[in-house]
Amino acid sequence: MNYGIDTSTDNSPLMIRTTYREAVRDAIRESILKDDRVFLMGEDVGRYGGAFGVTKGLLQELGPDKIMDTPLCESGFTGAGIGAALGGMRPIVEVMTVNFSLLAADQILNTAATYLHMSGGLFNIPLVIRMGTGGGKQLAAQHSHSLEGWYAHIPGIKVLTPAVLEDARGMLWSALEDPDPVLIFENTLLYNMEGELPATAGAVDIDRACIRRVGRDVTLISYSASLFKALEATETLAQEGIEAEVIDLRVLRPLDETTFLNSVAKTHRAVIIDEGWRSGSISAEISARIMEKAFYDLDAPVERICAAEVPIPYANHLEQAALPQPTTIVNTVRRMVTRHG
């Protein structure tokens, strides 16, 4: 899949064809080779090559000191990661999916996120946790949820959601350079996405949202896999003369509200597309901020397109029905903009 996002720049003509999976793998390899303190640990990351094949070959290439298989104990190895970070290392902890990370939630929320504050600013936790998120691959409820919005609730950590290859490649190093805990959510549906990336691609900022498509009629606010559904919807909308602006949040905490508020001030309408459940979600937070800070720019109520409030089903048609889809986005936007419905 290449949704027409051109990440090339004029002064780096050498482009390589790659996938999201390879981009993440390259980022891990580069980080370990670049900084002796960096290592990766997690379930099945070594011999098996990672639950989604992201770390395939890295054990053979970098050795067991850098790529460490752990037992099935999320709380244990996340805690070990915190300890290693305190001890001066730069650990990358991989948790297969966000569903399992709840077993380590105590370590993430009560320890990693709070340590700097509770030590009176003495101890940073330079820990990076990567995990898969999202549905759409028929892996049933316990492997398919999108809980990144929950983590975005927690002060003391950063939450990143790389959607494009450039971010898949570049966010890890930026996260490792951050002195505080950073969680990176990789939507598992994106691993097979193919595209071109400059051979020299490297670190990217982890502060800002960005505009992936410029438009004037409505602002679609999304992140991760939903970004591509939003972009797909804009193609249909454009044929009807509706120009949607598409925002890739990139970072869920801290939220870069300036970017979407400015956009809403221009388009006067906002739709948030979020694979998480609607109630108490990141989309609720974004909607609230628009109400607080852009109310008088709104020409229509803010709309949200979220996952159905059920455990994500296994059956393909049910799973697709539960997740946000481009057609829903098109219909919602059409109704908002033309007001016939």
């Binding site: 006067h268 109310f295 008088y296 720019d297 709104l298 020409d299 229509a300 007001r339 419905g341």
Partner: protein
């Protein structure tokens, strides 16, 4: 028998201190009598009773601090009714009685008021464009009014055939030199508006004209000294002095500040000076500087700057376009020496200022060269006579000679 309890004198009051009883056992009290002084965090308050009663027994000694709701006295109601509590205060309801009965308050049938469904943006836009939302047809869900509906309504509003009360226009000669003839609807609409207002003016209003020359040397000197103390941004333009002088002259001669409606002069108390502002695309509007007489020079300067900016940006408020009580046109900066205006109905006067130019000036038998301003007045002869107009121009002159008092 009834108890008088420590009242709650505010939502945050938890305790009160009895300062002094104003009654003794056996006293007859009637509605509104003060029974005691009570001290709270907010000070000492006089506590009233609202029933006719006789004081039976005082339960608290002065200087006692008790929680809200504590019985303070026993009273006997004169009508013989038994009541648990009588209290109370000069402002608020008595303290909640200890009974834990939660009253069920029937929800009153509210009159079904039609509330307009308007998007926040549309509401903001309507204010800016002076569109009356009740006249706008909403095309959204359940008739909700959106941006587009307001914009369309605003378009229709512009070329209204009798815009006398909406779009203030001035004589055609006051057209800005940078105005280019265009053929847009807006242009045509504005031209029509000016035409309608000015035709009516010339048809209905018997104008009289007066003119006087004003020595501006003192005013300009004072302004120069004043401006030297200020940063460039804060400097005051000479025209601000003129606006203020007109406003003050109108307080001296109020007959020129008002409207001719129903065959009589209706003098207005508020002084809202319509200031003619030419539009880049041609035509002009005269939005009002509200309460010009009450504003300082700095405030007037700020108001003028804001008004010009919003006029040219198309963000005037409807009130500004409709409630000027007199019009001022100043064409001095374009080099005109005198301007004879056409009164904008239903106003009864228009003041015109030309450029301030060096001219020979004779005074006390001596000839001098001074910066001189020519001020003109177009007055509605139905409302006033030349005598009033002359006094008004003289008042402007007087105020400009005492510019430091403006």
């Amino acid at each position: 028998m009834a108890e008088f309890r420590m009242p709650s004198l505010g939502a945050d009051m938890r305790t009160g201190t009895l300062v002094a009883w104003k009654v003794k056992p056996g006293d007859h009290l009637k509605h509104g009598d003060i029974i005691a002084d009570v001290e709270t965090d907010k000070g000492i308050m006089e506590i009233e009773v609202f029933e006719n009663c006789i004081v039976e027994e005082l339960l608290l000694a002065p200087d006692t601090k008790v929680p809200v709701g504590t019985p303070m006295a026993k009273l006997k109601l004169e009508d013989g009714a038994e009541k648990e509590t009588i209290a109370v205060t000069d402002r608020e309801q008595p303290s909640p009685p200890p009974a834990i009965e939660v009253p069920t308050i029937p929800v009153p049938e509210l009159p079904q008021e039609e509330r307009l469904r308007v998007s926040p943006l549309a509401r903001k836009l309507a204010t800016e464009l002076g569109v009356d939302l009740t006249q706008v047809k909403g095309t959204g869900a359940d008739g909700a009014i959106h941006q587009m509906d307001v914009e369309e309504a605003a378009k229709k509003l512009q070329p209204k055939p009798k815009p006398a009360e909406k779009v203030v226009a001035l004589p055609p000669e006051a057209k800005s030199p940078e105005a280019k003839p265009t053929t847009t609807d807006f242009q045509a609409g504005m031209r029509r508006a000016i035409a309608a207002a000015m035709s009516r003016s010339n048809r209905e209003i018997p104008h009289y004209y007066l003119e006087t020359r004003i020595d501006m040397s003192h005013a300009l000197q004072w302004l120069e000294t004043e401006n030297q103390k200020r940063s460039i941004k804060e400097r005051i333009l000479p025209v601000v002095l003129l606006i203020k002088a007109v406003a003050k002259a109108l307080t001296d001669v109020p007959e020129l500040n008002g409207y001719w409606i129903d065959d009589q002069l209706q003098v207005q108390e508020a002084i809202h000076i319509g200031f003619a502002i030419s539009l880049r695309q041609g035509g002009l509007v005269t939005p009002a500087i509200h309460h010009a007489d009450l504003k300082s020079l700095d405030e007037l300067m700020a108001a003028l700057r804001d008004l010009i900016e919003r006029t040219r940006g198309g963000h005037l408020r409807s009130s500004e376009l409709s409630d000027a009580t007199i019009t001022l046109t100043s064409l001095g900066d374009i080099g005109v020496e005198k301007v004879y205006g056409v009164i904008y109905p239903p106003q009864v006067a228009l003041v015109g200022f030309g450029k301030i130019a060096e001219q020979p000036w004779a005074e006390r038998g001596m000839l001098d060269v001074r910066p001189v301003l020519t001020a003109t007045l177009a007055g509605d002869h139905r409302a006033t006579d030349g005598m009033i107009g002359a006094r008004f121009l003289q008042a402007i002159n007087t105020h400009l000679q005492a510019v430091e008092k403006l």
